[in-house]
Amino acid sequence: MAGVRLVGFGWRHAGRRAWAVRGVDLRIDHGERVLLLGPSGAGKSTLLAALAGLLPADSGEQEGTVEIDGLDPAKARERVGTVFQDPQSQLVMARCGDDVAFGLENRGVPGDEIWPRVDEALRRVGFPYHRDRPTAALSGGEQQRLALAGVLALRPGLLLLDEPTANLDPAGADLVRTAVAGALDPDTTLVLVEHRVADALPLVDRVVVLTPGGGVRADGTPEAVFAAHGAALAAEGVWVPGHPTVTRPAAGPPGAELLTADRLGLPPRLAPTDLAVRAGEALAVLGPNGAGKSTLALLLGGLLRPGAGRLTATAALAGGDTRTPPHRWRAPALAGRIGSVFQDPEHQFVTRTVRDELALGPRRTGRPEPAVRATVDELLDRLRLTRLAGANPYTLSGGEARRLSVATALATAPRLLICDEPTFGQDRRTWGELVDLFADLRDAGHGVVTVTHDGDFVAALADRTVTLRPAREQP
């Protein structure tokens, strides 16, 4: 059991002018289950890190107080357990059981008590494997379940979940939510940060809304908070249930074919696939994990050499260069024809500032400098990045980084845009902007291919869908 008390709490990261979070007065009692909401940049993750005692005094400046059971969070660490977003960087050990045992060892739990507690924690999250299973063999959802077990084994009074499902496909996210629901007991206080409110509501009995730089805006039962603030929150980017999203069907019929995939495959990652990509059409590629969706995106993007079959570009895409397959095009030619947006935006950044990042592609394709500058300014404005023109791409928030990664692919005005999970973990506002942006591109005659698990996104945008099956299930 643990209670939380914040009085006038604020935190500013070292070297930043703006406060990440400020003026928060909040009291959470033993056993309460709280959903922490707020638009991007409201400081939800910072607040969670403060509760977890993971903001070292030398890494920034604090205002007001934060206490767990009357203690400084740095001294109350034993009472708090945290599950973070990225499954890959949370697992420490090579075997599942060892990973759960890791925290128990750190806390000095006697050796003969460790394994019974490991088994109990694995049972509580419904972990289906033996504890000798290699952690590397788990799916993302299973890894998050394991991370949760590692935290629960420590029997925290306060459980903090920082968007634990943001990096997962729907099936994996379901696994994690079921595990959380099953593992909660009346003695555990829960604070959850989650964009997708509808998914989080069954787990909580109280909603707290933060305003950027302005403390707590709303606090109460989900019904009361959403009745009073639902529309405003939806407009600010929170996924409030019952607020419909935009739908952008195609304005006209699709145009010329741009790419033809003929038994295109890459064993064992992708089984042979036939596919036509057309201008003026939004095509969504669906399928379960392991079906090779990302591989297909890389193949269509001319970034991987096909292991089987052929990918041919038409004259509408490649002009006179249709005899060479896309993976053998020189990079500047490729960037001028096909834009690729990667699942992890950070993989894509090459330069030190947002402005240089946008200018890179046009410069490489040999555009004159005034035209480059005009393109960059237009994209900065269109994707709400002007304020961040001088910032380092690696310091951007998730939504900003996603907008930048899409903008960089658009900077060379390619006829075809290929995106891998562009809406993963995005708030409602960025989501809507992406739908509009892609729909505008399509209506202007570009081809748009998205690999996605996001059913809402498909419903809002896609004109046609292709569903891949796992390579091993095919004859």
Partner: protein
Amino acid sequence: MIGLEPVATPGAPLARRNPVAKLAAGLVFSFLLVASLDPVAPAVAIAIELALLPLFGIRYRVLARRALPLLAGAVGILVTLVLFAADRSGRVLWAAGPLLVTSGVLVTALGLVLRMLAVALPGVIVFATTDPTDLADALVQNAKAPARFAIGALAAFRLVPLLGQEWQMLTMARRARGVDAGRNPLARLRLFAATAFALLVGAIRRGTRLAVAMDARGFDAGTPRTVARRQVFRPADWLLVAGAAALAGGALAVSVALGTFRPLIG
């Protein structure tokens, strides 16, 4: 790269020994062999190593595959030395134009290559029979290595395979952005350096996140750590180390008895 994941039958009598004992035995064996420059002592040592292999539960074919880079390197060194070493003493065995192979150069080259193999094989055997987790546990429990170092290194080690995928991603992302080097070797070098830097930055960021997650689970708590997997250093483990010393000494003794012993110093 030489693979590091264990490939041995875990139940084999010597594979079961304490990882620290295996490591110590390997080091003792290797260090003693460095003492001689002749080909006989390492040849005897290699024979001993290969003879002991079944006791470690490693099949010869598996070892050959794992030590392939080592063997390839050995052949390369042998050829280079035989053809180009300054030492041209002894009987002429083969001469073709500027190329001259003498018995002196052959003995020196063979000595060097055999030494390299004899010294490296114990390391290959240790890692082929040892789970990294067990090694870290034993280093902490039996060799009193700091847990912060041993467990931290173990966690970092787990991220190494990800670097390969990351490199491929970064290369593709650069190509997608219109960046490639074409045929220009200088541009290629620059691109390689830039990609390597990005890889490093990414690795540091990932490592930082992992460190935060580890501390969130009390890794920095300062409470004395307990252990979930007990590693015991038994008398048999001492015997393994002593045996390694004795066998290496035996190999040197054979070399002395045959009169081929050439000490490294003196």
